[in-house]
C-alpha cells in the first residue's frame, strides 16, 4: 500500500462573486479558481462543471497511480468503481452547491435533516436485525447451562479423537 499522503487529494476552491447592473437588471456572476494542493496545479472556471472535471481528472490520476502495480483487469475494475462514486458527486454536487449559494441556512437544515433521516433508517435496520429489546442479563443458571454444554462438547471431542487415533492404528 502506498504512503498515507499519496492516497490524499486536497482541493482549495475560491469563488469570487460579481454583482452588477446590466440593462437595468441586477446580475450575478461567479468566477472561481480550484487548486490541487498536492501538485500545485490550478484551473479557473466560470462554470462549476469545469471545477468538477478538474477534480475528477486529479482523482482518477490518484487511483491510477495507486493501482499501477496491479493487473490491468483489476486496475480497470477499481477505476470503474472510483468513477461510480464520482458520478454521484457530479450529479448531486452542483445542485447542492447551487442550493447552498442561494440559501445557505436552508441547505444546512436540509443536510441536517438528511443525515438525521439516514441515522433513523440505520437504527431501525439494526433494531430489526437485532432484537435488543428481547435481551436480558445472563443469570447464574444461564452460565451453568453454558458450562454443561461446553463440558458435553469437550467429552464428545475426546471420544472422536480416540476413534481417529484407533483408525490410524
Amino acid at each position: 500500500m502506498d504512503k498515507k499522503q499519496n492516497q490524499n487529494a486536497s482541493f482549495m476552491v475560491r469563488f469570487n462573486q460579481r454583482i452588477y447592473q446590466e440593462d437595468g437588471e441586477s446580475k450575478v456572476q461567479w468566477r472561481g479558481k480550484i487548486s490541487h494542493v498536492q501538485d500545485g496545479d490550478e484551473q479557473r472556471f466560470s462554470d462549476f462543471k469545469d471545477a468538477l472535471d478538474f477534480m475528477q481528472k486529479k482523482l482518477s490520476e490518484l487511483t491510477e497511480k495507486a493501482t499501477e502495480h496491479r493487473s490491468s483487469e483489476e486496475q480497470e475494475n477499481i477505476i470503474q468503481k472510483s468513477f461510480a462514486m464520482w458520478k454521484t458527486i457530479k450529479d448531486v454536487g452542483p445542485k447542492v452547491i447551487k442550493e447552498t449559494l442561494k440559501d445557505p441556512k436552508k441547505q444546512f437544515t436540509n443536510l441536517q435533516g438528511e443525515i438525521q433521516e439516514k441515522f433513523t433508517t440505520l437504527s431501525d435496520e439494526i433494531s430489526e436485525k437485532v432484537q435488543m429489546d428481547q435481551w436480558r442479563n445472563a443469570t447464574r443458571s444461564d452460565f451453568h447451562e453454558i458450562q454443561n454444554q461446553i463440558d458435553g462438547l469437550s467429552s464428545e471431542i475426546k471420544k472422536l479423537s480416540k476413534k481417529i487415533d484407533g483408525l490410524k492404528k
Binding site: K3, K4, Q5, N8, S10, M12, R14, R18, Y20, Q21, E22, Q29, R31, S35, V37, Q38, D39, G40, R44, F45, S46
Partner: protein
C-alpha cells in the same frame, strides 16, 4: 491621536519588542531576543513543521494533540510528538528551567496553542493591519493608507512557500493571498489621485498575484488617465479582456466596459 493610529503604533511596538518574532510570508524565519534561530537549532524537520502547524492554526482554540499528530505524522506515537514539542521549546527557550511551564507554547492538558500575546507573527500582523485599514477606509483615509502600507510591508510572499504541498498550509495561504490582494486594491484606490504612479504599481502587484483580478485593471486604467496616458489605459483594458477570455471565457464587467467607453470618448 486616533484610536486606530494608536493601534498601528502598538502593533509596530510589539514587532520591535516581542521576545519571539516569526516570519512566515515568503520565507520561514524565527528570531529569539532579536537573534535569528538557525534551522539546525530545531533539530529535526518535524520540529519545525510542528511549529509551523501551530502557526497555521493559531486562531483555532487549543489544538488537541491527536489531531495535530493525525495531520503531521503518518504513523504517530506519543514519543514523536514529545520530541518535536521539546525541540520547539528548546529552540525558543534554551535557558528554560526544567519543570517550569513553557512560555510561548501554551499547554492545557493535551491541547496546545501558540501564545499570540507573546509571539509576533507576520501573518497575524498582516490581518491586524488590514482590519484597521478597512475600518478607517471611509472615515480616516490617512490612517487607512498607513495601515494598508504596513500590511504591504509585512507581506513578502506566500505563506510558508516551502510547504505548498502540505494541505494544512493551504487555508492560511489562501487567506493571506486574499488579504494582500484586498490591501493592494484598497491602497491603490486611496492613492489614485494623489499618486497615480504608485497606484499603478500596487495594481501591478495584485495582477502579479492573480492575473484575472479585474478591479486591479480598472484602477490601473483610471490611474493612467490621471497621468494623462490614454493609450496605456486602453492597452490595460485589452490585457484585461484577453486574460478574462483565456482563463474564464468571459468578457469584462459592464463597469469596466463603461470605463473604456469614457476613456475612448476623451479627446
Amino acid at each position: 491621536m486616533s484610536e486606530f493610529k494608536q493601534q498601528i503604533l502598538d502593533l509596530e511596538h510589539f514587532k520591535e519588542n516581542a521576545e519571539v518574532r516569526i516570519e512566515t510570508l515568503g520565507n520561514f524565519r524565527v528570531w529569539r531576543d532579536h537573534e535569528k534561530i538557525e534551522a539546525k537549532e530545531f533539530g529535526r524537520d518535524k520540529t519545525m513543521q510542528l511549529l509551523q502547524y501551530l502557526i497555521a492554526n493559531r486562531q483555532r482554540n487549543a489544538l488537541h494533540k491527536e489531531k495535530i499528530m493525525d495531520d503531521l505524522w503518518e504513523d504517530w506515537n506519543d514519543r514523536d510528538f514529545k520530541v518535536a514539542m521539546h525541540g520547539i521549546n528548546k529552540a525558543l527557550e534554551p535557558n528554560r528551567q526544567s519543570r517550569t511551564e513553557p512560555k510561548f507554547i501554551i499547554r492545557q492538558g493535551v491541547s496546545y496553542q501558540i501564545d499570540l500575546e507573546k509571539v509576533w507573527i507576520d501573518a497575524e500582523a498582516l490581518e491586524s493591519f488590514i482590519i484597521i485599514g478597512n475600518k478607517t477606509y471611509t472615515s480616516d483615509s490617512e490612517v487607512s493608507k498607513l495601515a494598508f502600507q504596513h500590511a504591504i510591508d509585512v507581506y513578502r510572499g506566500s505563506f510558508l512557500p516551502n510547504r505548498i504541498y502540505e494541505d494544512w498550509t493551504s487555508e492560511e495561504r489562501e487567506k493571506a493571498q486574499l488579504l494582500i490582494l484586498g490591501a493592494y486594491i484598497s491602497l491603490a484606490e486611496l492613492l489614485l489621485n494623489e499618486n497615480p504612479s504608485e497606484s499603478i504599481r500596487l495594481c501591478q502587484n495584485a495582477i502579479n498575484i492573480d492575473a484575472t483580478w479585474e478591479d486591479a485593471y480598472r484602477i490601473q486604467m483610471k490611474a493612467y488617465i490621471a497621468k494623462g496616458n490614454r493609450p496605456q489605459a486602453i492597452k490595460t483594458y485589452m490585457k484585461c479582456e484577453v486574460i478574462l477570455e483565456e482563463e474564464y471565457g468571459i468578457s469584462p464587467l459592464p463597469e469596466t466596459k463603461q470605463l473604456l467607453k469614457e476613456i475612448e470618448a476623451i479627446n
